[in-house]
């Protein structure tokens, strides 16, 4: 029987039907979309269990976690320059200054002032930088030495980021003996987590002591960053790392994320270390992707000892400017679920976050607040942390 046979108006039918479709779609959306029933549509997480091997232990020496010394000044510069999206190379921050003032510079204008002095005549370069850049006393830098002990007991050293201020980083390198390690070829590679000023712009200091050191960078560096590596005098191998897992040595792998970051930076890579009979240790520069996403990546991708996410070291990028947002409380509340047993945080983690971690009862390793680090709530400059299974 057709609609016409029943004497039903086709137009009424269409009008009713389309109205009903709208009601049906929104009703179903309202009742089902946020209901517990929806969980059945989510795929089960398939763990890839990639084997990166194991190592005996990992020790981290904090060369510098103080990326800058005055939050207010740094943020004031960023604000005056136009906010957190302004291209970092245009800020006229050290070392890329051309004397035109805040946010009026460029990579080319800045590097042209000092290029001829890199990497050996850094004192002279810094004197020029002080003339041409804004707030040259504020930069510090982030850098640490990662020492991996392999299963045969041999130590492999990785320089993890290279800081910002030439002056501060040279002082910090000398304090921790990094200058000699570089000169003696004891350090096997420079691993740059991301392109930010405070992790990367101190590169000439590393080049001064070992221009042949292999460098690993994320493949999302901008042309200015890649040119800076050349202009700093690098002569060794440069490797650009793409997204995902990248094995470095037995027990050590990097993981790179395409993540948008302030000051027009894009992409960060960090390190997983699988420590025998202990578990997985995460070592991060800023962890812009978020520590929980990093931990989730480990859970999905890697096989690790005791299936335990044991430890953390580095910047967790929660409140780098001692700012706050309730979403950070979500992290503080949730981190406990991941069962970390030893947390060595600093740098962009923020003192407020470290204090909240301690108040929540997390196993935070406190520091000594030396060499211009501000608070004992986290690991400061010159402090060390080791991850090794008890014998």
């Amino acid at each position: 029987m057709t609609i016409k046979d029943k004497g039903i108006s086709r137009r009424d039918f269409v009008r009713g039907t389309v109205t009903g479709v709208g009601v049906g779609v929104f009703a179903a959306a309202g009742f089902y979309s946020y209901s517990p029933w929806r969980n059945q549509l989510f795929p089960k997480i398939a763990r890839k269990q990639a084997d990166i091997g194991v190592c005996k232990s990992v020790k981290v020496t904090n060369i510098s976690e103080t990326s800058w010394f005055d939050n207010g000044l740094l943020i004031s510069d960023i604000k005056k320059a136009g906010g957190l999206l302004v291209n970092q190379y245009s800020l006229n921050w050290p070392p890329f200054g051309d004397g035109q003032g805040l946010a009026k510079g460029s990579y080319e204008a800045g590097i042209n002032k000092i290029k001829h002095l890199l990497p050996d005549r850094l004192d002279e370069a810094w004197a020029l930088i002080e003339q041409n850049c804004v707030h040259t006393d504020n930069p510090g830098g982030f850098s640490c030495l990662v020492e991996i002990e392999d299963m045969e007991g041999e130590i492999h050293k990785i320089l993890f980021d290279t800081g910002w201020s030439y002056k501060w980083m040279e002082e910090s390198y000398k304090r921790e003996g990094i200058d000699k390690m570089l000169a003696n070829n004891e350090i096997e590679m420079l691993f740059v987590t991301h392109e930010h000023f405070d992790h990367f712009w101190g590169l000439p200091v590393t080049m001064k002591y070992n221009p042949n050191i292999p460098i690993m960078i994320p493949d999302t560096f901008y042309p200015e960053g890649k040119q800076y590596i050349k202009d700093s005098g690098h002569k060794g191998q440069l490797t650009e790392i793409g997204n995902g897992l990248n094995k470095i040595m037995p027990g050590v792998a990097s993981f790179k994320f395409d993540v948008p970051i302030i000051c027009r930076v894009f992409g960060e890579q960090d390190i997983f270390v699988n420590v025998k009979d202990l578990g997985l240790v995460s070592i991060t520069g800023c962890c812009h992707q978020g520590i929980i996403k990093f931990a989730e990546a480990a859970y999905r991708e890697l096989k690790y000892e005791k299936d335990t996410l044991y430890g953390l070291y580095g910047g967790l990028h929660i409140s780098p400017f001692e700012d706050w947002d309730p979403k950070y409380d979500d992290l503080v509340i949730s981190l406990g679920k991941y069962g970390f047993e030893k947390i060595g945080c600093n740098h962009c983690t923020g003192i407020v976050t470290a204090k909240k971690f301690i108040e929540t009862g997390y196993p935070v390793v406190e520091g000594t607040a030396r060499f211009r680090s501000k608070d004992k709530a986290y690991l400061g400059n010159g402090d060390t942390i080791e991850f090794r299974a008890p014998v």
Partner: protein, 473 residues
């Protein structure tokens, strides 16, 4: 036209009874206006917002506050106060460009009085410190974050006001003050919508501000906020998401749906209540769907993580996605006279909805693919400095300035008639859609088909998401 109306009522009914006549045939008027609006948008974006531009207010919250409140004050001027204190004769006779400049300046003046006077000044200094950057700096917040936090608080208020202000006109039909003259009617609606916005702000946003500072302000707000377990976050972005959907659905209902289906209800009170609360229910369903869509395409949210996997950002993105729907819907209504008019109201509304959703998906794709190349915003979906609501709302504001204040100049010229377009649309819908057994049966069939379509959509979304991948991580 009624002479008394001209003298007494300023712009009452001006927009509803205005007829815009295209100056040229075919798509030329829309293209010309698109060009003008794009120039206005990009020039003003460069002057006010762009991080590479002059004032660089896209910090992002300072810029977000101004764009959001600009939208609200535009609604106040055109919809609630019906252009009071400007006389109707002035509205009719003044050249659109002159009118656009004067009315935009007037709107900006109100905006500044509101932000600087009411929020930063009066409330910030005498009541809640979080509205005032100066007060926040006094207690140790750095200059930048003092501005960001106070702007965030003020913009949260705007989010609510941008839903309730038009809702009282569109859904509640200005009741019970619809027969009063201006400015009494405008002030009455303004006071009730501001009052309701304040109440909803206290419930949905104040708990967010209460935990924004260390330590949590247990004595002044509920901490953690009441929505924590339901929304899987303590962030107020949860409320931003569904409230943004309310804003969008109000305009969808007003424009491409022509107030269908609630306009069918003949009892005034029942119709107004149904429309007001129906919009909220539709918005909640839309918010749930948009959140679920993200889970299906990107995977389940993980509490505590950052960016695109964080529940708080997912809720924010619900509102962002909704705004991508609002823009093409308004465009279709304003510059294409709703595009589809040859069928009955429900069929027209249905087809327009499909067109606007397809356009919204295309716009979404285009925005995330290209915005960082010309707006100075951050590449990617979820960076804290990637706020698509700012440029989309800014663009909508330019459209509304052109349409409301400039009568669609240069593509259209205006003539006033005495017929209310809303009344005509309502009469048309009522004459076309009448309750009958046939209608009842087809309605039930439609609901079943709609439920089926919903499940088809959610099963197809993961594949559609893969197909439309913009960034891969």
């Amino acid at each position: 036209m009624d002479t008394n109306e001209i003298k007494a009522d300023f712009g009452t009914g001006y927009l509803d009874k205005r007829v815009l006549v295209p100056r040229w045939r075919g798509p030329i008027p829309a293209l010309v206006n698109l060009l003008l609006i794009s120039i206005l948008f990009y020039a003003s974006w460069w002057i006010f917002m762009d991080p590479r531009g002059l004032m660089r207010m896209y910090t992002p919250y300072v810029g977000y506050m101004y764009s959001r409140w600009l939208l609200v004050t535009l609604i106040w001027v055109a919809y609630i106060f019906a252009f009071w204190p400007f006389k109707r004769a002035w509205l009719v006779k003044t050249h659109p460009v002159v009118k656009g400049i004067i009315l935009t300046a007037f709107t900006w003046l109100i905006l500044m009085v509101l932000i600087k006077g009411l929020f930063n000044g009066f409330l910030g200094h005498l009541s809640m410190a979080y509205f005032s950057p100066e007060e926040l700096q006094k207690i140790g917040i750095t200059d930048f974050y003092a501005w960001e936090y106070s702007s965030q608080a003020i913009v949260m208020f705007a989010a609510i006001a941008s839903w309730l202000s038009p809702a009282w006109v569109v859904a509640a039909e200005e009741a019970p003050w619809q027969n009063m003259t201006q400015p009494a009617r405008g002030f009455s609606i303004w006071i009730i919508t501001f009052f309701l916005s304040t109440l909803i702000f206290f419930v949905t946003m104040h708990p967010h501000m209460g935990i924004l500072y260390y330590p949590w302000q247990y004595f002044t707000s509920i901490a953690p906020p009441w929505w924590e377990n339901f929304a899987d976050t303590v962030s107020g972005n949860f409320s931003i998401g569904w409230i943004m959907c309310c804003t969008v659905v109000v305009w969808i209902y007003e424009t491409i749906w022509e107030r269908y289906p609630f306009c069918l209800i003949r009892n005034d009170t029942l119709r107004r209540l149904s429309a007001f609360f129906g919009i909220i229910l539709i918005s909640l369903a839309l918010a749930a769907l948009l959140y679920f869509g993200q889970e299906l395409i990107w995977g389940e949210a993980i509490r505590g993580t950052r960016r695109d996997f964080a529940p708080d950002w997912r809720w924010l993105h619900v509102g962002e996605m909704a705004i991508f729907w609002m823009l093409p819907a308004l465009w279709i209504n304003i510059f294409h006279n709703n595009a589809v008019n040859r069928f009955s109201t429900p069929v027209n509304a249905f087809i327009r909805t499909i067109i606007s959703i397809v356009a919204a998906v295309a716009l979404y794709w285009l925005y995330y693919k290209t915005a960082h190349l010309f707006l100075g915003v951050q590449k990617g979906f979820s960076h804290p400095q990637q706020f698509p609501m700012i440029p989309t709302i800014w663009f909508i504001c330019m459209m509304l300035i052109n349409f409301w204040f400039m009568d669609g100049w240069p593509g259209w010229s205006m003539k006033q008639e005495s017929v209310s377009k809303t009344a005509v649309a309502t009469d048309k819908a009522r004459s076309e859609v009448k309750w009958s057994p046939t209608f009842g049966v087809s309605l039930v069939i439609g609901v079943i088909v709609g439920v089926g379509l919903y499940f088809l959509l959610i099963y197809a979304l993961p594949a559609l998401g893969d197909w439309l991948t913009i960034y891969s991580e």
